[in-house]
């Protein structure tokens, strides 16, 4: 789409890739997104720890955004290290919840689970392992049904 005009000193919204590129060429200063603030993140982290299910995240890409912004523009973000720690805490809590939920899913052999508010990054990190384990379980489970007799040769 169209962007600009870029007047020096005035804030403008651009796509993230452009922002990172301009920053690397030292042509701009990045403003942190509204949710990337120490108090807000602390509240979100405590909320996440209290709840047993997953709480909504400020953005479906919070991990990726955090990593990119903190790696390229940490001088523009106040208290960058604390933010990094807070986001990592949230990530760890959510991954732990995911594991507990996977474990109870397997133990009770349920057929269907619904997980709200999961971001793609979390799904991809634990997804392959879980699908493979469930595949194995499915095969072991179908052994329980007596199979139709396979063809055997008669002499």
């Amino acid at each position: 789409g169209d962007l600009g005009p870029f007047n020096p000193g005035l804030p403008v919204e651009v796509p993230l890739w452009l922002a990172i590129n301009l920053k690397q060429r030292q042509k701009c200063r990045l403003l942190p997104p509204e949710w990337m603030d120490v108090e807000k993140l602390e509240k979100m982290r405590d909320h996440e720890r209290k709840e047993e299910t997953f709480t909504p995240m400020p953005s479906p890409y919070y991990m990726e955004l955090t990593k990119l912004l903190l790696n390229h523009a940490s001088d523009n973000i106040p208290k960058a290290d604390e933010i990094r720690t807070l986001v990592k805490d949230m990530w760890d809590t959510r991954i732990a919840k995911l594991r507990v939920s996977a474990d109870s899913f397997v133990r009770q052999q349920e057929a269907h689970a619904k997980l709200d508010n999961l971001t793609l990054m979390e799904i991809n990190t634990s997804g392959t392992f879980l699908t493979q384990a469930l595949n194995h379980m499915y095969k072991l489970r179908t052994n329980l049904q007596p199979s139709e007799s396979t063809q055997s040769q008669d002499f």
Binding site: K67, N71, R99, A102, D103, V106, R107, Q109, T125, S126, G127, T128, F129, Q132, A133, H136, M137, K139, L140, R141, T142, N143, L144, P146, S147, S149, T150, S152
Partner: protein
Amino acid sequence: MSEAYFRVESGALGPEENFLSLDDILMSHEKLPVRTETAMPRLGAFFLERSAGAETDNAVPQGSKLELPLWLAKGLFDNKRRILSVELPKIYQEGWRTVFSADANVVDLHKMGPHFYGFGSQLLHFDSPENADISQSLLQTFIGRFRRIMDSSQNAYNEDTSALVARLDEMERGLFQTGQKGLNDFQCWEKGQASQITASNLVQNYKKRKFTDMED
């Protein structure tokens, strides 16, 4: 496409093993205690201690106990049971089944036969009356051990994992590797290696010939 070789995966857990899968071939080679129902002529040459002697054509007499690999036992087994009858190995019998139901995590499944699940699933073809119990026990053992495999595979980054996998059987080791791969990929992303271009491992092995070699 970063891999040069696509493996055929094991079908052993399901209804039939895959002919081309290396895991299945290895699994199928494990031995099974078996009792012959008819005499088998001339096989006494292989099983010298069981043979009836040279006069009777070196036959293995009826009712003798042998240990045959699974692929051979499966081929000879017939529903009318004219040739062989199969005995279940100890770990699939009642005694061990109660051990597994008590606590599945304690057992060293690698020692019990490194292909516990695959072999057990293929054993179900032999129509034993305990089939339902065996399959139930396999499933429950897997469920019991799942948590530990998940935790250990997802938390051990860049460490020596031989102590962790020592007690897992082959199928569980495959799962462990998948978990480790997921973890490694995540760490790779975190470090930023995902956006760097690295030489493919196929090409790295091509050493450049020296110019002097080519002159000859």
